[in-house]
């Protein structure tokens, strides 16, 4: 067989190609993008024998249902995901963090993420994709990246150009830990808020709103009172920044965020907690815990060591 591809029987809610994203384009209005949950992205690639910056399919809530055509290939799914593999009349329950072999006419049905948002599908091969600024990452707002900047759609074909013939099965014992406390550093406009507002921010519970996507996460809770100005001069944003607009409800900037904003920045989520933050589902509660720069740096080193350690176990 010379052509290997997936046929999309169901696209899922928001299935896109992602890798590590693109750098050095903030100044023209293009954010990093890239896989939302970096650790699970890296683990999926390692489980299928790939390097760090290898395109995968990221899905949210409900994943795609795919039918495979071609030579045998390894796949792996990471996150907290329910999925099934259909081989003829045989229906196999999928397990995250281990590789499975798909053969011609097998089906992969990624049913849902469990109490989490994002999951990853990696293959022991190379999707046939167009890159923009050296990245496949799809940003559907700006229509940038692979698949003409669009999410996957039903009946579409996903072509695979190269397959690694050496199908080694791999496995990792790992469970995603959940956290309700997200660690945050004070933002550059922290003093725009009243004493009570500051106390509310660090201590009160917020609910993740339904209006959350790859661009941002909106939170609902008691209104955080601004005592200076509800607007600032438009200036740069980065991933993890928490803005509070006039309505008093925080918005956290995520990987596809607008690069410039004019709302006061009350805080910034530390790098070590970003992967777990993005996995919070609408309706779940979150609390912010204050840390300083030194602790944030130490916590990131620990997070990174843990990630490297997991990768080395595969």
């Amino acid at each position: 067989m010379d052509k290997n591809y997936f046929e999309i029987l169901r696209a899922g809610i928001n299935s896109t190609f992602q890798d590590l994203g693109r750098n050095n384009l903030y100044h023209i209005g293009i954010p990093f993008s890239g896989a939302m949950d970096n650790r699970n992205y890296l683990l999926a690639n390692k489980l299928t024998g790939n390097d760090n910056n290898h395109p995968v399919i990221e899905f949210a809530y409900q994943g795609p249902h795919l039918k495979y055509h071609g030579n045998a290939i390894n796949i792996a799914i990471t996150g907290d995901v329910s999925f099934k593999i259909k081989k003829g009349d045989n229906l196999i329950d999928g397990e995250c963090y281990r590789s499975f072999i798909l053969e011609n006419n097998d089906e992969l049905d990624i049913i849902s993420t469990n109490k989490s948002v994002y999951g990853y599908l990696a293959i022991s091969g190379q999707f046939d994709l167009k890159f923009q600024w050296s990245s496949c990452s799809t940003n559907i707002q700006a229509k940038i990246g692979s698949n003409n900047g669009e999410k996957l759609s039903v009946n579409q074909k996903i072509n695979i150009k190269e397959i690694n013939q050496n199908l080694v099965s791999k496995k990792l014992n790992y469970i995603n830990t959940k956290i309700e406390n997200i660690r945050v550093m004070k933002g550059t406009n922290f003093d725009y808020f009243s004493e009570q507002g500051k106390k509310l921010f660090f201590g009160n519970e917020f609910k993740v709103s339904k209006l959350s996507d790859r661009m941002g996460m909106r939170l609902e809770g008691k209104k955080i009172e601004n005592i200076v100005d509800t607007n600032i001069r438009s200036e740069g944003l980065i991933k993890g920044v928490i803005q509070v607009p006039a309505d008093g409800n925080p918005i956290i900037m995520l990987s596809d965020h607008g690069t410039i904003g004019g709302y006061p920045k009350i805080g910034v989520v530390i790098s070590a907690d970003y992967d777990r933050l993005v996995q919070l589902t609408p309706g779940s509660s979150v609390k912010f815990q204050e840390v300083d720069l030194n602790s944030a740096e130490t916590l990131f080193k620990l997070y990174d060591l843990e990630t490297q350690n997991l990768i080395s176990q595969i």
Binding site: H27, I28, M185, S234, E235, I238, I260
Partner: protein, 224 residues
């Protein structure tokens, strides 16, 4: 010059050039931006210049705040003579179907439509920054009498090519996007082109922009 450098989270430097907004201050920001861009400092992965701020994002695995702050504190800034500013004339059509908020502006500014346009078309604008959405230029400064607040409720969809006004600035929506600026016209020109990877933005910080009024016929012919 940079007045103060603080941290924005654990992976970015927040360089503050002072409270004032002027071309001079913004030119300083752009000089720093271009200097740092040329230096290719290990770990720096993004720069966001704005009116009077510069955010330097970095890879926390490769460098940290204190080390990078030292480098930026001691950087030698490129002389202004080396920065080239381009000039553009942007055609816009102000027919009813494109000037979505002109009536609203007449009320807000207490000024007749003709006068608003006259004022607007006389002006040469300076591009302070690009962003929010890819390629959107933030152009200043509008005369005092043309400054209006954003819409009370932002539009869910502002058409591609729309020219919007708010406060002392004009901008151009490079593609359809939500937004709350007062729309006075539309350009047929493509301001952002993602297929041109080396220079996707037509207008860049420091460039000078004037607008030229075109008829609907000319507008349609642009699309050829």
């Amino acid at each position: 010059m940079i007045k103060n450098i603080s941290n924005l989270g654990d992976a970015a430097l927040y360089c503050d050039f002072g409270k004032e907004i002027s071309k001079e201050i913004n030119t300083q920001v752009i000089r720093y931006f271009k200097t740092i861009q040329k230096k290719n400092i290990v770990g720096v992965n993004n720069l966001t210049p704005s009116y009077n701020k510069l955010i330097v994002s970095f890879d926390i695995k490769k460098i940290n705040f204190n080390k990078l702050k030292k480098i930026i504190d001691n950087i030698e800034v490129i002389n202004s003579d080396n920065i080239q500013n381009k000039k553009f004339e942007i055609p816009i059509c102000c027919e009813k179907e494109f000037s979505l908020d002109i009536k609203r502006l007449e009320e807000k500014l207490k000024m007749k439509e003709e006068k608003i346009y006259e004022n607007f078309f006389e002006k040469e604008f300076f591009c302070y920054m690009t962003g929010f959405i890819a390629g959107m230029p933030f152009l200043g400064d509008l005369d005092e009498n043309l400054r209006a607040k954003r819409l009370d409720t932002p539009r869910v969809k502002v058409p591609k090519g729309s020219i919007g006004l708010t406060e002392q600035f004009a901008n151009i929506y490079t593609f359809e996007s939500p937004g709350g600026w007062n729309i006075i016209g539309n350009t047929p020109l493509n301001i952002f082109d993602s297929s041109k990877e080396n220079e996707p933005n037509l207008i860049n910080p420091g460039d000078l922009v004037t607008f030229k009024r075109i008829t609907k016929e000319n507008y349609q012919n642009y699309h050829g």
